[in-house]
């Protein structure tokens, strides 16, 4: 049976909400509308109970000891802002050095840039060809002024999973707060803040089949107790770290999403990894000079990123976008003209950074969809190569690196 079009394969940008999540949320829009901070009447108690349950569901998913360690925010970006700025302000007396990587998502990098303008020093560690941070290099970059290590759990473009437990252990030994942006990983692969020595962990609901507009920050309360300066002042909600009325329906949905993820993660991960491998094999068996970006095994199960030599990423997407939703690290899909800084950081040839396509499978992806998209990608890449001057030159045996290109 042909799949229903368009096919969504961009799950690193967002995920479709699980209908079970919507079902859990609905009562909290209407009959259970109370303010969870209203302590003196049943409407408040009922809303608070919903929020408490969600807090527990998320705490369980990430292995937190105490549900109080989960702070609700508006999403991943806010969690990251609160973590980095909150630590920077609170620990400023202790030092002004922050260690992070060159491939963090925009929110992290932009917060770091702002902190640099405020007098902090930030080290952006490079990554290897497969996107991994070198823990030895990280260790060597620690100074007596280092107050924070922030390394993403899994990358949003290439899916590479970092050695989080090793970094957590190192941070603990050196008494440095460790934050991980786990927005792409939570609910997809096992995450455990205790076992991995994580002090702060950012997550977002809409990347785990929950609603948009809610996220969480895990803030460790014991060994060590992490303190944060609040970004949002007000009624002192969320242990004073994030004032503002808690959006109960969103939070309840987030909790339910976390619970479902915990139940299905093992099987879902296996199923998506098998589908992902099927897609990868289908494409690589039919297209020469196509290269998988990211780590071959330490990679999110639903993530696939391929660079197609001699064709530009956006032009590939343009051939597919009526029927399938994918993403490209190419310059032209964004408003900037720079190619993906993540692919570039891997040290691949810069023209390949313009040629990367990202596939993101999800809970509702099917084999039919994978086969359809795989087949279409192969067709479009072949068509574009027929009109690519680079492919023509390469087939004539010209080494593209020997050509003196006239820049734009």
């Amino acid at each position: 049976m042909p799949p229903k079009l368009p096919i969504f394969m961009d799950s690193q940008s967002t995920t479709p909400m699980d209908p079970r999540v919507l079902e859990a949320m609905l009562p909290y829009f209407t009959e259970k509308f109370g303010h969870p901070a209203s302590r003196n009447h049943p409407f408040g108690w009922e809303a608070e109970a919903g929020v408490d349950k969600a807090r527990e569901q998320i705490a369980t998913l990430v292995g937190a000891r105490d549900p109080k360690e989960i702070i609700f925010t508006s999403g991943g970006t806010e969690s990251i802002n609160l973590a980095l700025k909150g630590v920077a302000e609170m620990y400023r007396e202790k030092g002004n050095h922050i260690l992070t990587t060159a491939i963090e998502q925009r929110a992290s990098l932009d917060v770091c840039k702002r902190l640099e303008r405020q007098g902090f020093e930030v080290t952006y560690l490079p990554v290897g060809r497969e996107g991994l941070v070198d823990v030895e290099a990280l260790k060597a970059a620690i100074t007596d002024k280092t107050i924070l290590i922030s390394v993403m759990f899994a990358n949003n473009e290439i899916g590479t999973i970092q050695p989080i437990a090793e970094i957590g252990k190192l941070a603990k030994e050196r008494g440095i707060v460790f934050h991980t942006d786990a927005t792409q990983a939570v609910g997809k692969v096992p995450v455990n803040v205790e076992a991995m020595g994580i002090d702060l962990l950012s997550a977002t609901a809409h990347l785990m089949y929950g609603p948009k507009g809610v996220g969480s920050l895990y803030v460790r309360r014991k060994n060590p107790r992490v303190r944060l300066a609040a970004m949002m002042d007000g009624g002192g909600h969320e242990r004073g770290m994030r004032s503002g009325t808690v959006p109960v329906p969103l939070v309840v949905g987030f909790g339910r999403a976390a619970e479902i993820c915990r139940e299905v993660m093992g099987e879902e991960g296996k199923r998506l990894a098998a589908l992902r491998d099927r897609l990868q094999d289908l494409i690589l068996s039919k297209v020469d000079e196509a290269y998988v970006n990211g780590h071959p095994s330490n990679r999110l199960p639903h993530n696939l990123n391929i660079s197609f030599a001699y064709v530009e990423g956006e032009s590939v997407l343009m051939g597919l976008n009526k029927e399938s939703a994918l993403s490209s690290g190419s310059a032209c899909t964004s408003s900037t003209l720079e190619p993906s800084y993540v692919i570039a950081a891997l040290g691949v040839d810069s023209e390949l950074a313009h040629s990367s396509i990202r596939f993101g499978l999800h809970r509702f992806s099917t084999e039919e969809e994978v086969d359809f998209v795989g087949r279409r990608v192969v067709e479009v890449v072949h068509r574009l190569r027929e009109m690519s001057p680079l492919y023509e030159l390469a087939k004539e045996g010209v080494d593209l690196k020997t050509i003196q290109w006239k820049g734009e």
Binding site: M318, C332, L337, W405
Partner: protein, 136 residues
């Protein structure tokens, strides 16, 4: 980003994709852009050495949909023009015809550069020959 209908049309049905032999009489080749910038255009014209009229044009482009459309449109416009007329094609003409957004204007600039490079190559290779005419 939404594309204009004309960009989509040129992307789906590119005009004049292909190559001429570089040393074919009357052929001028322009190769502009750079792979690391994400755009490379090869544009070729085939000029009638008697009349100076561009009889045929072909392109191959590595780049986004707007780059492909800009070069495809350029080949359409080149055919039937004299070499002198061809030199008057401006990137702004391409921008308005394809309704390119500001972030894609560089594609039209590259197409104009490709036209100029092809004309230059033609002149260097063939204009000095006795058979050339009508091109000055």
């Amino acid at each position: 980003m939404a594309y204009s209908d004309k960009v989509v049309d040129h992307y789906n049905n590119p005009r004049n994709v292909g190559s001429f032999g570089k040393d074919t009489p009357g052929v001028g080749t322009g190769l502009v852009g750079a792979p690391e910038c994400g755009d490379v255009m090869k544009l070729q014209i085939k000029v009638n050495l008697e009349t100076g009229v561009i009889e045929d044009a072909k392109f191959k482009t590595f780049g986004c949909g707007s780059a492909i459309a800009s070069s495809s449109l350029a080949t359409e416009w080149l055919k039937g023009r004299t070499v002198d007329e061809a030199a008057k094609i401006k990137n702004t003409d391409i921008v308005s015809e394809l309704k390119l957004p500001p972030v894609k204007i560089h594609c039209s600039v590259l197409a104009e550069d490709a036209i100029k490079a092809a004309l230059q190559d033609y002149k260097e290779k063939w204009k000095e020959t006795p058979a050339s005419g009508g091109a000055s």
